[in-house]
C-alpha cells in the first residue's frame, strides 16, 4: 500500500546570521501492506511528522521515491491526494462551523456532488456518534468529540489509506480507548491505517506492524512481537532507593548472568538477563552479600521500550 525508498528532507533554519541545514529525514525506506494498522514510533523530533507530511503531499521530498496506493508521490501528487486521507496532529476544524458543514464541505472539496456529500455527512455523523451535536458549532465540542470529527473529515472520501498524526495525544484515558476502537473499525472497513505515536503501549496494543524512527532514520521495522523477540532473554527490574542504586549497580555489574545493566532515573536498576527464573535468586543473594535492601523485584518480558533502547542506546521515555 505504501512503498518508500530513500525519502529525504532537510530544512534550512536561520539563527541570526548563520544558516543551518537540519536533516529532518535521512533516507526512509518503508513498506506498509494493505489492511494493516501501521505504527510509526519515535521520540519527538525524530522526523515522524515530516515523513508523514511528505507522504500526505504537504511537503515535497528532497530526494527518494514513494508509491502510495498505487500512485507515484513525486510524479502525480494530485492522484495521491485523491486516494489518501490525512488527519493532522493540531486539529483541523473551524470553531464557528458545525460538524455537518465541515463534513459536507470536505466531501465536496474531493469533488463529490452535493446530495451525495450530504448523505456521506449523515453516515459519518452516525458512525462516529456525532449525530447529537451535528449542528452545534465545533467550539462547543469536547476534545474527544472534536478528534472524532477530524477523523470523520479525514475519511469522508473513503480513501484507501488514512494517515493519523498522533491521534490520541491529549485525550483522557477513556477517549483514548474509544479512539483505539474507532481506529480498529477503520481497519475492519478495509482501510489501511498509518499512525504516528510516541506511546509505546499504544503501538503495542493497536498496531499490526511498527517502524521505529530515530534521528531521521528507521532503526527497526516489524511486528511488535517480532521486535521484542529479537531481544532474547528477560528483564529484571529491581526497586531501590536513590542512595542504594549505585552501590547495587557496582555489585551486580560484571556478574556472569547479567548481560546488560542500566540505572532507572528515580532509583532502581534494569537488568537484562538470559533467564529470569535463575537470575533472580542470584541477584537477591548478591545484594544481600553487599547489604543492600531492595524494595521490590519484578520480572518481565522485554517491552517496546527495551527494543528502542537496544536500537538507539537510550530509552524512549527519557528522550
Amino acid at each position: 500500500m505504501i512503498e518508500t525508498r530513500g525519502l529525504r528532507k532537510s530544512f534550512r533554519s536561520r539563527a541570526g546570521r548563520e544558516t543551518k541545514t537540519v536533516e529532518a529525514v535521512r533516507g526512509v525506506d518503508l513498506t506498509v501492506t494493505e489492511g494493516e494498522i501501521f505504527g510509526f514510533l519515535g521520540p519527538n523530533g525524530a522526523g515522524k511528522t515530516t515523513t508523514l507530511r511528505m507522504l500526505a503531499t504537504l511537503i515535497e521530498p528532497d530526494d527518494g521515491e514513494a508509491i502510495i496506493a498505487g500512485a507515484d508521490l513525486r510524479k502525480t501528487p494530485g492522484e495521491v491526494r485523491r486516494r489518501i486521507g490525512y488527519v493532522a496532529q493540531g486539529g483541523s476544524t473551524w470553531d464557528e462551523s458545525t460538524a455537518r458543514e465541515e463534513l459536507v464541505l470536505q466531501a465536496r472539496l474531493y469533488g463529490i456532488g452535493k446530495a451525495e456529500a450530504h448523505q456521506r455527512a449523515v453516515r459519518a455523523l452516525d458512525a462516529f456518534q456525532l449525530a447529537e451535536f451535528a449542528d452545534r458549532k465545533c467550539k462547543t465540542y469536547s476534545g474527544g468529540q472534536r478528534r472524532r470529527v477530524e477523523i470523520a473529515l479525514g475519511i469522508i472520501h473513503e480513501p484507501k489509506i488514512v494517515f493519523l498524526d498522533e491521534p490520541t495525544t491529549g485525550l483522557d484515558p477513556q477517549s483514548r480507548a474509544h479512539m483505539w476502537d474507532e481506529i480498529r473499525r477503520l481497519r475492519t472497513d478495509g482501510m489501511t491505517v498509518f499512525i504516528t505515536t510516541h506511546y509505546l503501549d499504544e503501538a503495542d496494543a493497536l498496531c499490526d506492524r511498527i517502524a521505529i524512527m530515530d534521528h531521521g532514520q528507521v532503526v527497526a521495522e516489524g511486528t511488535p512481537a517480532d521486535l521484542k523477540r529479537e531481544i532474547s532473554g528477560d528483564v529484571v527490574q529491581v526497586g531501590l532507593d536513590v542512595v542504594a542504586t549505585p552501590q547495587a549497580a557496582k555489585a551486580l555489574d560484571g556478574e556472569a548472568y547479567v548481560r546488560k545493566l542500566e540505572t532507572v532515573d528515580d532509583g532502581g536498576l534494569r537488568l537484562y538477563v538470559e533467564e529470569g527464573a535463575t537470575a533472580i535468586p542470584q541477584i537477591l543473594r548478591r545484594l544481600d552479600q553487599v547489604g543492600v535492601a531492595l524494595s521490590s523485584i519484578e520480572l518481565h518480558r522485554p517491552s517496546l521500550d527495551d527494543v528502542f533502547l537496544t536500537k538507539t542506546g537510550r530509552s524512549l521515555r527519557e528522550s
Binding site: T57, G90, E101, L109, G111, H157
Partner: protein, 251 residues
C-alpha cells in the same frame, strides 16, 4: 470548470461564516460614515468647492478607494487564524484547486466591500451627491479590482509571515505611504511638484483619479481607462503571486 466549482465552494463557505457574524457591516461602515459626517464638512471651504455636493464628489470616491485598500490589506488576519486551526492544511490535502483557495476568499472580500460601498453611496446621496448609474458601476468595478488585489496580497503575505504580530506592522507600513501618496483625503493638485512626481508612481493615485473622474460624470477622461487598466494588471499579478503561496509549503 473545476476552478469555478472549487472557487464557488470556498466562497460559499467563507460568505456563510461572514454573514453569521454581521458585526462586520457595522464596523466596516461606521468609520467611513464618521469621515462623511465629521471630516467632509471641512472640505467645501478647504477645497473652495462651490457647493457641499461638489465637495462630496471629490471626497466620496477617495473614501471608497481608501476602504477598498484597507479592507483588503487586513484580510490576512483571518487567514492566520485559519492556518492555526489547521483548516488550510485540511484543504491542502484535498485535490482542490490552490487558486480557488485564494479566489474564494478574495471574492468574499470583494463582495463585502461592495456592500459597504453601496451603503456609503446611499448615505452620500442624502447629502446631495449625484452620480450616473453607469459611471457608478464602473467605479465599483475599480473598487472591486483594488480589493481583489489588496486582499490577495494580504493573504499571500499572511501565508509567508504566519503571525499577526508580523502582519500588522507590515501592513500599516505599506498602507500609510500608499494612503498619503494617493490623494485620497485631499486631491494632489494642491501638492508641490516633487510630491506629485512621486505620487505618479503610486498605482492607487491613478485609481483615485479614475474613480473621481467617474463620480464627476467624466467617462471620457483618460484617467478612467488608465486607472482601470493599472489596477486590473496589478490584481492579476497579486492573485497569481498569492495563489502560488497557497500551493507552496505551508507549515
Amino acid at each position: 470548470m473545476k476552478l469555478a466549482r472549487d472557487t464557488w465552494l470556498i466562497f460559499q463557505r467563507q460568505f456563510q461564516l461572514l454573514i453569521r457574524n454581521p458585526v462586520w457591516v457595522f464596523v466596516g461602515v461606521f468609520q467611513p460614515v464618521m469621515y462623511l459626517l465629521l471630516f467632509a464638512p471641512l472640505l467645501k471651504p478647504a477645497l473652495n468647492a462651490p457647493t457641499q455636493a461638489a465637495a462630496y464628489k471629490i471626497f466620496v470616491p477617495g473614501l471608497l478607494v481608501l476602504l477598498a485598500i484597507f479592507g483588503g490589506l487586513f484580510q490576512g488576519f483571518g487567514l492566520i487564524a485559519e492556518l492555526r486551526a489547521g483548516v488550510i492544511e485540511r484543504s491542502r490535502v484535498t485535490p482542490v484547486s490552490r487558486l480557488a483557495l485564494l479566489l474564494g476568499r478574495s471574492l468574499r472580500d470583494v463582495v463585502s466591500l461592495i456592500v459597504q460601498a453601496i451603503i456609503i453611496t446611499l448615505l452620500a446621496l442624502a447629502f446631495d451627491l449625484r452620480v450616473v448609474l453607469g459611471d457608478l458601476l464602473l467605479a465599483y468595478l475599480m473598487l472591486a479590482l483594488i480589493a481583489l488585489m489588496t486582499s490577495a496580497v494580504s493573504y499571500g503575505v499572511a501565508l509567508k509571515v504566519k503571525s499577526e504580530d508580523a502582519l500588522a506592522p507590515l501592513m500599516n507600513t505599506v498602507a500609510q505611504p500608499v494612503l498619503l501618496l494617493s490623494g485620497i483625503l485631499l486631491p494632489l493638485q494642491f501638492a508641490p511638484g516633487w510630491l506629485q512626481g512621486i505620487a505618479d508612481w503610486n498605482p492607487f493615485s491613478w485609481a483615485v483619479d479614475g474613480t473621481r473622474a467617474l463620480f464627476a460624470g467624466d467617462l471620457g477622461n483618460d484617467k478612467v481607462w488608465q486607472g482601470l487598466s493599472i489596477v486590473a494588471v496589478l490584481a492579476v499579478l497579486g492573485v497569481y503571486w498569492a495563489a502560488r503561496q497557497f500551493a507552496r509549503t505551508v507549515r
